[in-house]
Subunit: 358 residues, 2 copies
């Protein structure tokens, strides 16, 4: 049976990426060696790393002064490294609290310096993105999480501010065209739109670095990795390789503009059904709905159908549809590689449930 | 042509590990999903993580109070995290400087606290392991690099001291039985004897933690990962999975005692030839020779044969034999999965060069 993978991450990648990655584990480019047993200093892996970095720059139209690097440790590590590298000892940083991951980023930053949480939707269980706030002009940066995987909200417009924006884009990078000038730093764990778990992309405007006085261990200083082209030490070879394959696919498929079109079609289809179907409703403010993660629940009168719905989903090959424990209900994660067909199957199942209710 | 992979790391793993890992990239355990697209919270990956940790504990005979965790960022990250977690603000740590990696570990630790380099072979270009030194009884720990990949030396006996030893075992873990009681903490990048690049094993005696006053970001605090069984955030799924497969192979092949026997046979064979063959000599003190990395050069009269030797190696399918740039000459890295046959082929080539010289 074909599986429709709505997993929130690690998540679906194109089948051709899996095929090529699988082959590389046995024999990489007819070298007679597995990619897993090759030196990270080999010309073969050097070419992979260069192509991956080049694809990032090309797909996101990065100007020369924006440096992409592959590092380790996930976005959770960046929660600490961002203030360590960018927040001056006597300065402050502005944060928007829009979900679980923003909240964790704030906690880590507070231990390192002065943090001003300028707006939060925490008290509303993060069902919307805060809108009316002032960004202090003297902040070193404004931190935000562009897409909130757990709650299903997304900044559909990146705020305009004179302060450089630092964005956790773990769950929506490469899904739309960026106005890169707004950003000072972008970071993203690979395991949604970019590749498998095990590497993290950081893109940083180089002039923002070297302004803090605190000691930064070599591995935590972005300049180390920029200088060494992401090969200061042994990088996570296979996760970077699979990310490169996936970025090749994004490029071949039409780049981030094409990804955005696909995400619009998928999300319009699912939200259309959520709004139409009398059994379900969405859990977030409509204007802040995420194109990556659609969160929805059964209406009160139909809550007893939860297990039935999960069962029919399973029978239709739908995987990873259960909502995060902090929200409940259901979550359809629709990253770049998810075919529209999978959303169609999900919508059919929702309609069938409606038709057969009681 | 069969390749004999002497790469210093990432390095050879068993062929059956590559086969199984390759299959998992297409379809993991008949789930219909690639391992790369499965949630790290799925019961399937949870079982992988548990088995990997269990195999570490079993193969190294870890007592209950020694906690293994999988983290990210390589040994280079541990150079900073070890003092961050273990070195008290008013305390000191003792370090032995036995090679490139020790030297880097010392540099990172010095930025965080009082470091006493109690012995060093740096002035002799690290051709031997220092022997006569006193470990200060009030040191928080004694740090050493058990095997020096670049220079080809190894602690053939772990020093006896009342201070807990912190060991970078990146290149010889799982290659011999440990007297675990001597150690307070062990860390190892996966990409030699354990698995592919992309994860790092840390084993820590739990009572050593929580003694420092400095702020430790969540991701850098070992307690975070112990408490969450290495799944505080999304771990590097595939590198951990391949490590688990490799540790299964180590267990099936007879455990670390069998790995040690294999390493003795391989290293006796290569060092025997280095010592016998009038064209070559070893670069390190004989009593400190590494069983993992044999470093050797052509004798002065035969230095012009260097390119010839590399050429005949290549023709025999020998890969990764060129020495590190800081030592020159040749390096045969012989990690757990390297068959004795590969060393036999190398020895044959060395003999052929001798027979055909001039």
């Amino acid at each position: 049976m074909k599986i429709h993978n709505f997993s929130a991450g690690p998540s679906i990648l194109p089948a051709e990426v899996f095929q090529e990655a699988s082959q590389a584990v046995i024999d990489f480019n007819n070298t007679g060696l597995s990619l897993l047993e090759m030196s990270h200093r080999s010309k073969e892996f050097d070419a992979v790393l260069k192509e991956a970095l080049q694809l990032v720059a090309e797909l996101l139209h990065l100007p020369e002064n924006y440096k992409p690097i592959f590092v380790s440790g996930g976005a959770s590590t960046q929660f600490a490294l961002v203030p360590m590298n960018l927040l001056k000892e006597d300065g402050k940083a502005a944060y928007l609290n829009t979900g679980t991951w923003s909240d964790k980023a704030i906690k880590e930053a507070k231990a390192l310096g002065n943090v001003d949480v300028i707006a939060s939707s925490k008290e509303d269980n993060y069902t919307h993105i805060p809108k009316n706030y002032q960004v202090p002009k003297d902040a070193s940066y404004l931190h935000l999480t562009t897409n909130n995987t757990v709650f299903g909200t997304q900044f559909r417009k990146i705020p305009a501010t004179s302060v450089p924006i630092v964005a956790d884009m773990s769950s929506d990078i490469f899904s739309y065209d960026l106005d890169i000038d707004k950003f000072g730093l972008i970071y993203a764990g690979a395991q949604k739109n970019m590749g498998p778990a095990g590497t993290t992309l950081v893109i940083v405007r180089e002039d923002l670095l070297g302004k803090v006085d605190r000691h930064i261990p070599s591995m935590f200083d972005y300049r180390t990795h920029i200088k060494k082209n992401s090969a200061f030490n042994t990088p996570p070879v296979f996760p970077i390789y699979v990310s490169m394959l996936n970025l090749r696919w994004v490029k071949k498929t039409g780049g981030v503009k094409a990804m955005e079109k696909r995400s619009i079609r998928r999300s319009e289809l699912i939200y259309g059904e959520i709004d139409r179907n009398p059994l379900f409703h969405g859990t977030t403010a409509k204007e802040d709905r995420s194109r990556m993660n659609a969160t929805f629940v059964l209406n009160k009168d139909y809550e007893s159908l939860e297990n039935d719905f999960l069962e029919v989903c399973k029978n239709a090959g739908i995987s990873g549809i259960k909502g995060h424990r902090s929200v409940g209900g259901f979550r359809a994660s629709m990253y770049n590689a998810l075919p529209l067909e999978s959303v169609e199957v999900l919508v059919d199942v929702m309609r069938d449930l409606e038709a057969n209710k009681g």
